[in-house]
């Protein structure tokens, strides 16, 4: 079983839900990413989503777009992200790392070469936002052959007929996008999400994480009541953007501890 699978199994045994934060690698500085990853673990997260910077982040809102631009200004590319993961792995052998990004940097490196390098670096899952299952033939298999879970999105607009098609190729967990729109979008209707998750679960045995629109302990708790994992991106990236550089780690840690309390409150 993959590190991601083990993590969800362990959490289930404790009747707890996973907290999955997202940060963009190289934001705010090249040297801060690995310390931030360790700080996230200390604050109680279960899986880390590490964003691979891309020049044209079509599915992201302004907050994560700006993070990508800062990281690119710091000259951080896919190879650096793999190096950061390897560095993190030197002192953490248990927390799964999921790379999240767009197809082109991976396409440029080559899927096989990337999968080998990612496995060697200790990457556990890969989510390429703009590769839907229809275009993933081969890609998901290449990842799986290297012990990497191919993670796919489902959305409010996904018809029931497609859910099985997506889950058939997916590994690790399903990332359910709770809102139409880009990352960082507004309010969240948990009742609507709960209805959709029931349908997803009818077709899928993988754990289901929910992201988009989670910004504080209260929304984290509400989502943790219905999902297996709570994914928080823009809110954390916003904290990184607005904190003075010497306070980034402490401010992010503080925020994530608060989100953790929210997630755990759902299990009580």
């Amino acid at each position: 079983m993959s590190r991601i699978g083990q993590t969800f199994t362990a959490l289930k045994a404790q009747n707890r839900k996973a907290l999955i934060p997202f940060i963009t690698a190289g934001d705010p500085g090249k040297g801060l990413t690995v310390p931030l990853m360790h700080a996230l673990v200390e604050a109680g997260v279960d899986i880390i989503e590490l964003g691979v910077p891309f020049s044209d982040p079509m599915a992201d809102g302004p907050v994560i777009q700006r993070a990508s631009e800062r990281a690119l200004a710091n000259k951080v590319g896919l190879k650096d992200v793999l190096a950061m993961t390897a560095e993190f792995r030197k002192t953490n052998a248990t927390t799964p790392v999921v790379l999240m990004g767009y197809a082109n940097p991976v396409e440029r490196m080559g899927y096989e070469a990337f999968a080998q390098a990612a496995q060697a670096a200790g990457v556990d899952g890969v989510l390429t936002v703009d590769i839907p299952p229809e275009e993933s033939h081969g890609v998901a298999d290449v990842f799986k052959a290297h012990g990497i879970d191919p993670i796919f999105l489902l959305s409010p607009t996904t018809p029931e007929s497609r859910v099985e098609q997506v889950t058939a190729v997916a590994g690790g967990f399903i990332y359910y996008v709770s809102l139409k729109g880009v990352t960082g979008s507004a309010s969240l209707d948990t009742e609507e999400v709960a209805r959709k998750l029931a349908m997803v679960r009818a077709h899928c045995s993988l754990p289901v994480g929910v992201g988009f629109g989670i910004r504080d302990a209260a929304t984290a708790e509400a989502v943790a009541r219905i999902a297996d994992a709570v994914v928080v991106g823009s809110r954390i990236v916003h904290e990184i953007e607005t904190a003075p550089e010497n306070e980034v780690i402490s401010r992010v840690k503080h925020l994530v501890q608060d989100l953790r309390r929210g997630v755990d409150a759902a299990s009580k």
Binding site: D56, M58, D130, I131, T157
Partner: protein, 399 residues
Amino acid sequence: MKLTDLPDSRGHFGPYGGIFVAETLMAALDELRVEYDRARNDPAFLAEFEYELKHYVGRPSPVYHARRLSEAYGGAQIYLKREDLNHTGAHKINNTIGQALLARRMGKKRVIAETGAGQHGVASATVAARYGMECVVYMGAEDVARQSPNVFRMKLLGATVVPVASGSRTLKDALNEAMRDWVTNIESTFYILGTAAGPHPYPMLVRDFQCVIGRECVVQMPELAGRQPDAVIACVGGGSNAIGIFHPYIPFEGVRLIGVEAGGSGLASGKHAAPLNAGTPGVLHGFRSYLMQDENGQIIETHSVSAGLDYPGVGPEHSYLKDAGRAEYVPVNDDEAMAAFHDLCRFEGIIPALESSHAVAHAKKLAPTMKKDQIILVNLSGRGDKDINTVAKAAGLTL
């Protein structure tokens, strides 16, 4: 499989094209694919499209024998397909009418578009006014500043123009932002994509709507010149005017198809927009094609004197035609395009768009290598009124 049978059912032209978008857009693209499939087999839809092209756009656009230009270039006879004479002044309107009719069929009351130079934005605002739809146009902040007359035209037509300040603040960023709007307002909104690119079915449907250009030429050339041309030349940014004139000529094996990319300050300078000449395949904006990218797979900024060619990708069918050897793609630099612009003004009394001037500039190189009884057909995709400020600036003048 014949070259004209493409794409396949998932939008692939060989290894190019496809659907590379986030999950939220998949259902909308599927809905569009299904509806377009019905529409293109519906005689009533096709009849209305044809009616609008005839009575609103003014089609067919003429083919014109540019005798003085041919004389000056000293070789093959040059014919111009006059897309500049269309309503709104470019080929863009052929596509926006087709997509607006589709939007109406699908019950969408709001349309959005991206634009670079503003021609597609104007064409979208025009059809939105014509069919009574709300229209929002995304335009890079850089382009808003350098194309102010077109921004005002769009506003006159009732559209909202949103300047995009992210990334390089040009066409590619406008496209990103239009996609973000679409994903947020997917139920109410139809995205009128401006070129034969993007995720399937856009490259196919934009091509189909633009093929009226080439189909007319196939009839007009024998009428006017007694035969089909030896070469067809068109400029290629995203590539919609080029695929529109090329596609009906694909089965004519004796006809060379030549696409002209923006060479900017020259390929060696790195400041250009010529992915088919100097790029590598990759994935951007929902499809796989040749791209301008660095060794890390980041998209690099492009340069062209012509805003309409200033795009780092190219429609997937062009990538396929290049690899298949059925079409050739060459670069033309800013200064060569500018010289051809002036040639057409002075020899023929036609002010061409700077985009189309790239095609004329290649005719200038090719014509002297051919015999006087040979024929080059140039797609004059748009008129140049929008470019007079740019041309004046290049000459060191202010208007």
